[in-house]
């Protein structure tokens, strides 16, 4: 009996490890961009405006509006901050003369912005990614 239980437990653990859910969202640049990849720590720094360049390219991070659920998920998963932390960070940055990333009214506009503007970097649902985008990171 004990052996059967152990076997079931092992099976459940193996299933849990192998069936991790696919990422829902992606950090993207335009497919023609010279930016090929970017580590998550660097993406965090770009969206916190601690880093502004990739080679010679000036980076332009873009957020959806603050109430967008995806933005909150991005802040938690990539910035590793809650909304209070984010507000605190940008208040301090205001005194240093640093503005938050620009915003777009919808995820569709984020996508269009990224496709059109050189150096733009944004995040959209995985399902919206098409051939005009290059995925740098998924979360």
């Amino acid at each position: 009996m004990l052996r059967i239980h152990s076997l079931i437990m092992l099976l459940l653990m193996t299933t849990a490890m192998t069936a991790a859910p696919a990422a829902d969202f992606a950090v993207v640049v335009a497919s023609g961009s010279s930016i090929q990849n970017m580590a998550p720590e660097r993406i965090r720094d770009v969206f916190l405006k601690r880093r502004n360049f990739e080679g010679d390219i000036k980076l332009v991070p873009v957020n959806p509006l603050g109430e967008d659920q995806l933005r909150r998920q991005f802040e938690q998963a990539v910035l590793q901050m809650n909304r209070d932390d984010v507000n605190r960070y940008w208040t301090t940055s205001h005194f240093q003369g640093v503005k938050p990333p620009i915003t777009q009214a919808s995820l569709e506009s984020v996508k269009r912005f990224v496709a059109r503007v050189d150096g733009a970097i944004g995040y959209i649902p995985r399902s919206m990614v098409d051939s005009s985008m290059r995925v740098l990171y998924e979360f």
């Binding site: 000036k58 208040t91 005194f95 915003t103 506009s109």
Partner: protein
């Protein structure tokens, strides 16, 4: 590219307190004020101690600027001596430009905050955890540079940043300068250690207008989580005076903060200060409470114990960054 982005960007809806008012990509306006009430053995005063205007913006991809005009002690009502004074004409607190070649190499030129430690970089009431500043931040090194700072991340370690600063002139607008100098050279390093830890240090030398020359070595570290912050800074300096020989001064502080909600926090700080030339030694303990209904609005209370002087006092302040 500025033209392209203008066509397609949308701004976050309306004005947001603590983020300024963005007139255009080239100009964001903001400011801050701070009021304070002090009650001690020989003190009973109300002050509007800071009133300031900020203007900053980007000009192209690589150049940006910042101007800060500030009236210090704009209004002081001293109930102990029954006097009132005003000081409204502003001084230039900061005026600088930044030119960024890359994340590894940028230059800041003009009057700016000395990049030494943590406290000095957030010198205004609303951004601090306590109304008072530790002696460390006011008496040991010049708060400002009027000169050039080269800065960036090191190319060999992206978690290590550097700043090399040079001043070889008198300070721009000397009204609110803590130490009047005509030379200052130094460098700072800071390392992000991960898991909320950071550490760094600075070393440099400066020359005061009375020809006193000072060398200093400074260390700083901090640890931050969502609820707790701990910060420690220490400095030792050697002053070669024109007539009194060489003396050593030192100062350090250790501060802890516990935020039991994002709005409410308690703060404790212990600090030590020894001025070898003036023969002064001070040990100060502080306990404080901070209430921030939103982060850019701060109401603080603190009580200070001075072990070596009769300066125990209660201080409260209200400050806003707008």
């Amino acid at each position: 590219m500025a033209i392209i982005t203008h066509g397609v960007w949308a701004q976050e809806a309306g004005y947001q307190i603590g983020r300024g008012f963005e007139v255009s990509e080239f100009l964001t306006l903001g400011g801050y004020f701070s009021t304070e009430y002090e009650l001690g053995d020989d003190k009973n005063a109300f002050l509007v101690d800071d009133l300031a205007l900020l203007a900053y913006g980007d000009v192209g991809d690589r150049f940006s600027y910042l101007l800060e005009l500030e009236s210090i002690d704009a209004y002081v009502s001293d109930f102990e001596n029954d006097t009132t004074s005003t000081n409204l004409p502003p001084t230039i607190e900061r005026l600088y430009g930044d030119y960024k070649f890359s994340d590894n190499l940028a230059f800041r030129f003009g009057k700016h905050i000395s990049p030494i430690g943590y406290w000095n970089l957030q010198p205004i009431n609303v951004l601090r955890e306590t109304t008072s500043n530790p002696r460390y931040s006011r008496r040991m090194f010049p708060k400002f540079i009027t000169g050039v700072t080269m800065y960036g991340y090191t190319p060999f370690d992206e978690s290590l940043s550097y700043q090399i600063y040079v001043q070889n002139t008198r300070d721009m607008d000397q009204d609110n300068i803590n130490i009047l100098i005509d030379q200052h050279y130094g460098m700072s390093l800071e390392k992000e250690l991960g898991n909320g830890w950071k550490a760094g240090g600075s070393t440099g030398r400066f020359r005061q207008l009375d020809q006193t020359r000072t060398r200093y070595l400074q260390f700083n570290t901090r640890y931050d989580t969502a609820q707790y912050s701990a910060i420690a800074e220490a400095i030792v300096s050697y002053q070669d005076t024109r007539f009194a020989g060489s003396e050593r001064s030192s100062s350090y502080y250790l501060q802890g903060e516990y935020r039991f909600t994002p709005q409410h926090a308690v703060i404790t700080r212990g600090e030590y200060f020894r001025d070898g030339i003036a023969g002064i030694k001070e040990r100060i303990g502080i306990i404080g409470y901070s209430f921030r209904p939103v982060y850019p609005v701060s109401l603080k209370f603190e009580y200070q114990w001075h072990a070596d002087t009769k300066e125990n006092q209660f201080v409260t302040s209200f400050s806003v960054l707008f």
